[in-house]
Every structure is written in structure tokens, then in C-alpha cells.
Amino acid sequence: MNLLSFPFFIFLLILTILYFLVPKRFQWWVLLAGSLYFYGCSGPRNLIFIGITALSTYLAARRIESLQLAQKAELAARKKELDRAGKAALKERYARRTRRLLILTLVLNFGLLSYFKYLHFVVAQINHLITTFGGAAIQDTWQLIVPMGISFYTFQTMGYLVDVYWKKVPAEKHFGKMLLFVCFFPQVTQGPISDWSELTGELFTEHDFTYHNFSWGLQRMFWGYFKKMALANALGVFVRHLFAHYSEYTGIAALIGAFLYSIQIYADFSGYMDIVCGFCEVLGIRLTENFERPYFSKSIAEYWRRWHSSLGRWFKTYIYYPIAMAKWNQKLGRYMRDHFGKAFGRALPASVALVAVWLTTGLWHGASWGYIAWGGVNGLFIIFSLWMEPIYEGWKQKLHINESAFWWRLFQVVRTFVLVTLIKVLPEVGGLRKGLGLWKQIFTNHTIPTNMHMLVPLYNRSYIDTVVIILATVLLLCCSLIQRRQPARAWMQKHIPYPLRLVFFAMLIILAVYIGGAYTGLTGGFMYAEF
């Protein structure tokens, strides 16, 4: 069910009415029924795969918890008879069993994800190798339809399982609740990837209908639809055109295209988040925020803490820390510190973890060398900054740079925006080779752009469209600036009279329909749903 479709609005309306009509203890049942219906609309077959994930995780988590409890009980019962070595052996016996179960479930679920997402890519690479040595290629005849949101729900669910294994959260006893955690419809397709305690704390709490939630939630939804339809969809037409024909354009034009792509993907993804977070707000549910004005970041590392932050947090919790804190890595760090100095000793374990994080981040985003390279370049920049930090500090002191000065901060923000934009386009042009071709075009073709027909896809309908798109971009910037201090809605409530606010939001909807409909027939899909 497309979030931009009329049936979806009807679905939301019915769900909201039911949610507040049923007795509060049944509210989460309404969400579960709605989520299963929503997910089932993507194809009943997909329910099987999400069901496998939910059931396997539920059973594994219960079993892991029961083993942990059994270990505790046995330790308590045999407290007197066991010496230190006996206790360690008993713990190790239980730990082996829980670890085996954890690994089995992780393999099953990540295996499913890999099968759907990476099979073609792996086969293509194997074929490449085989044919290089003169062998016969494997026939890739698998027709795989990737289940909706598999990347998101697999990560979220596996995060929960590891948390149970780490005893951070108790295993859920009610399968229905587990199922809702896995398939909660506002976040199943594009996240945010929430952790168990955060999401379930919201889902299973009883909520009252309040005017404040209703009003603020709707305002956020309208803003999200506007960003998606009036900005992302319209810019998408232009960006697609430019990326497909980048070699015909000058470097400046290609760079403008890359910047517009940055705005497009932000408007698209954050627009989606605004829609789903806004809807949840109507119900009284607070979802994890995924964006914190990422284009105002002062470094790439900060950017990744503010862009799709729930994914970043997942990688940090389940990949970065386990690797960075692993005994072998710590040992390596100590060795480097002893032989090459303190800075080396500190940076190396973190760098090893960062390499793992960024390669998996690249792979998570897509099965292509372009995405792997994209992850690699991001990681390289962050690792490079980490290693260069002491040198930077020295330079800053020598040059008397005041880090809190506006111009310095502006420079940092612009530099980061340019860098993330250049990295971002790498996999998006249609493969790594083309991505590098776009870079080459940007850096080598410095003639003044004369071929302004590049603007044709934007301009071919009416200059009013262009005005609306520029205004939308300015509005997005203003909103981000306001959000530095307070939510934009709070600012509006304080500074804009009620009738004008009504006009503003009504115009958002009208312009979203007008521009969105013109460029994508009203139903352009969301970019992050592809990941």
C-alpha cells in the first residue's frame, strides 16, 4: 500500500478511529491487525518471511532466556557443591548453548536477508571470476522478489535478539506483541530501526486521544507529504535526467545535480519519516527520530550520527562496540600503543571496527560495488579524521582558529555537505564506474555551463513549478534553521496566527498534489524503501 495513495489515507482514518474507540488495553491489537493488513497488501507471500523472522526470534529469545534462567537456577542450587572451576564450566556449558542458538537464529535471518538481497550480486561476482578463467558461467535464473522492508525488520529483530542474549531486555512472552514489534507498519518499510524497550514502551502503553497530538501529528504529516511530493519527486525527475546524461554536462552542472540529489534524498527520506512519525504522534506514539538536521553537521562522523541515526546506532551497538571492545582488538591496540605510541594505540582498534561498520553499511544499502565503495569512502574519511585529529589540533592552535566562531562553523558545515554529497552520488548514477565518471566530470570539466537545457525537465511545464520547488527548498532550509532551537511547529504556534497556519498547511497539501502529481503521477515510491 503506497503511502501516497488514497487507500492508505482511508486505512489511516479507519485505524485511528478504531484505535481510540476500542478499550485501551486492546489498542495494540488494532495496531497489529492494521500492520498485518498493511504488510499483507505488499503480497501475502511476504507475510511468510516476516512470520519466519518473528517466530524464529520469538522462540530463540524465549529459549535463550530460559537457558539463562536455568543457568542462574542451577548455579544457585549447586552453589555449595561447585568450586570456581565448576562454576565456570557450568557457565561455559550454558553460554555455548545460548551462543549456538543465537548464531543459528542470526544465520537463519541474515541468511534470508542475504538470499533475497545479495544472491544475484554474489552469482554475478562468481560468474565474473569463472569467466575470467575461461569457465562456463552459472545461469542466474532466480527470480527473487525482495520482501518489503526485510533489511529494516531483520536488523530491528536481530537487535532485539542480541539484547536478550546480552540480558539487556527480557524475552517477550506474547507472540502477538513480538509480531507487532517486527511488523509495525509505520516503520516496517523504511525504519526507524528501533530497539525493543524504546518501541514497545510506546506500542504497549495505553494512549488517550489529545488535541495536541492530533494537531501536531497532522502538521508533521502534511509537511512530510509536501517534502516528498513537492520537493523529492520533482527534483527526482531532474536528477535522474542529469545522472543518466552526466557526460553531456559541464562539471558545474553535474555538481549542481549532485547537490540537488542531496536535497532530493533528504526530502524523500525525512519526508517519509515525517509522515510516519506524524501519524504515530496522532496515536500518541513517539517513534525514534532518524534525522537531526544532518546537513548542518560539522564532520562526516557527526553527519552519520544525525542522518538515519537509528541505523547508525544499530551498527554502533551491534558491530562497532563488539569489535572495538573485543579482546583481540584491545590486545592489538595495546601492542600498537607500546610500539608506535598512544595515538596509534587508541586509533587502531577503533579503525578496525570502523572498517567493519562501513563495509556492512555499504552492503546494507545495496548489493553493488558502488555501495561497497560508498561505504568504504565514508569509512575512509572517518578513519582519516580519527588518525589526523592530533595534527588538526596542532594546526588549529597554530592558525589561532576559534572553533566557536560562526565562519569556522559555517566552513565546517559547507565542507561536510560538499563531501557527503560527493560520496552520496557514487552508487546512485548507475554503478561504480559511472559514479566515478560523474566525479571526473565534476572535477575536470570546468567550462561555464552553456547547456542550460538541463533545466528543461524542471521548466517544461510552467515556471510556477520552478518557483514552488525553489520555495520548497528555502522552506526546508528555514525549517531546519528554526529546528536548531525548537520544533518548527512550536515556532509557528508562537509566531504565526491561527488562520495563517491553516492557510499554510492547506497550501502545503495543494502544492504537494500539484507538483507531486505532475512529476510522478502522485505515486512515486520512496527511495529508502529500495534499501
Binding site: 488517550d208 488535541y211 492530533f214 494537531s215 510556477i464 498547511f505 495543494i510 498534489v513 500539484y514 502529481g517
Partner: protein
Amino acid sequence: MQNFKQTLRTVICFLIVFSLLNAAIMEIYFNSERRDYQDKNDRAALAGTLDTLVVGASYAKRGIVPAEIDKVLGTSTYNLAHADMTMQARYEMLKIEIARNPVKLAFVEVSMDSLNLKPYDTTREGDLYTLARLESPIERQKYAFTAFAPINYGWLYYQLISRGFTDLKYWTQGDYISDSVSHNRGYAPFNEKKHYKAKLSPQHEYHTQIREQYRYAKNVKYLNKIIELCSKNDIELILIEVPMSEVSIARYANLQEVHDYFAQVASENSIGFLDFNLWKEKTAHLSDLKYHDATHMGDELAPIFTEQFANIVQKYLAGEDVSDLFYPDYDTLCSDRGYAPQQ
């Protein structure tokens, strides 16, 4: 309860503001005079003077010149046709003009697809044009709710908003009422001189295609309502087929079925039916090379055809038997003109 009341108040206020803004944008489209069908001001100015009306789809819009009819018949004619005009729209437009004009004669163009356009589906573009020709918001709302299916409301909303913004652009450019769009009493020539060059010969195309002939109940209902409306108002009603190119006449194997259906309707209701595809002198006056495309006449042909059409109608109205001027059926036409393969 307080929350609910406050919510309700806000929702109502928002809906009012939203509706007003939408109405304002849509009105820009409804009041524009840029397109050849946006003629309500012209029609309003002529109210009380029209005695002859033509309704139909684009074949009639592009093929019938009211001035030519008036020259021959001494009438005051208006061509109400527009592209993709549905039978419901033909009825509604006739009803409006009959109510404010002393109409004595009406031509309803019933070309081959007039009854088989699927209501609520393939007709939506035409119904959108019709909406822009209705004068009051109430008329438009009434028409919208009867002509469009709920599944098309989203499409309709987008179209109206989009056209409103497009016309806003023309308005800001001072081109809201376009001089380049001629409102010749409803006749709109295909004047870009991009004439249809019939590359294929009628012999080569002979009976290679069949037109869908399912007659939708809604279309038939409105045809009957037109007949009833004219009969109630003492209006001479003539069903007409505007001539297609020779290639098209030869191409479709089942034109006779269409003809027979309307002939039967005409006979059952004692009204006229003139199928100008069967007009014997057609090829002498209307060359395929001067057609705009396979079914629409170009600007050079329309006055020539209308003059001949009016001459025949004049004879018909005078009570003369005009059947000699037409082939009795399509088989005879095709065999006489050498389109049918030799036996």
C-alpha cells in the same frame, strides 16, 4: 470531550480554508478562456439568439462550421461539441442551451465510438472539459458527482488543481483570455496545417480492424434523454455521422452495425439520421490528404463539408428524399469505390 471539540473545530476550520483555497485555484481554470472548449462567456453572450445546436465529440468540433450552416439555412447555429464529449455531456449541454435559446434544430453527432466509451473510465478527460463549460459551481458539482466514479476523484482533483496553476501562469503573463484560440461559435479548426497524409490506401486497409461495439447502458440512457428532451421542446433532431477519411471507412469491418443501430433508433423515434460516411459525393469534396488525421477533418475541409452538409440538411428539412445522395450500406460503398477485394 474538550479535546474532541477542539479537534472538530480545527478540522472544520481547516476544511473550510482548504476548500476555499481549492475553489480559488480551480476557479482560475473554470474562468479561463484559453482552450477551445472554454466558451461559456461566448455562449452566455449569445443566449436567446441560438436556434440551431450541434453536439458531439471532436469529429463534430473540428468538422462542423456554424457560420456555413447559417449561410445556407439562415439559422443562428452554435457548435457545442468538444473533444471526448460523452453522451451525458451532450445531453447536459443541450439542456442548458435549450433552456435559454429558442432552439428549433439540433444535430447530435453519433460517430462510431459515441456509445462505447466506457463511462467513468475512458470518458473522464471529456467530462473534465465539460466541467469547465458549466457556469455555476453547483452545476459543476452536480455534474462531477454523476459523471465521475469515486476512483477518479483523485485524478479529477489533481487535474483541476494542475490546470488552475497552469492558467494562473497565463494569468500572470496576461494571456488568460487567449486571442489565439478562436471561438467561432464553438467550431475549432485543426489549424496547425499538420495535415494527415494518408500513407495507406483504403484497399490495403480494407477491413483490417473492428471497432469495439459494446454500447454502455449509461450512454444509451443519455441518448434517449436527448431524444426525449428534443421531442418535449419541439426540436427537430437529426443524428449525424461526421465523415471519416476513406482509409478509416475501409479499415473498420463493422461500421454497418453502428449505422444500423442508429438507423433503428432514428426510425423508432421518428427522427433524422444522416450518415455522411456513406455520402456518395464525399470523395469529390473531401480528400484524405486534407484530413488532420484518420478521423478528424482539417481546417480546409471543415467549411467545404459543412456547406455540403447544410445543403443536404436543407433538402431533408424541406421534405425531400435525400437517400439517393447516400450509399445504402458500407458494402456497396466499398465495392463501388473499389476498396473491397475483387471476387
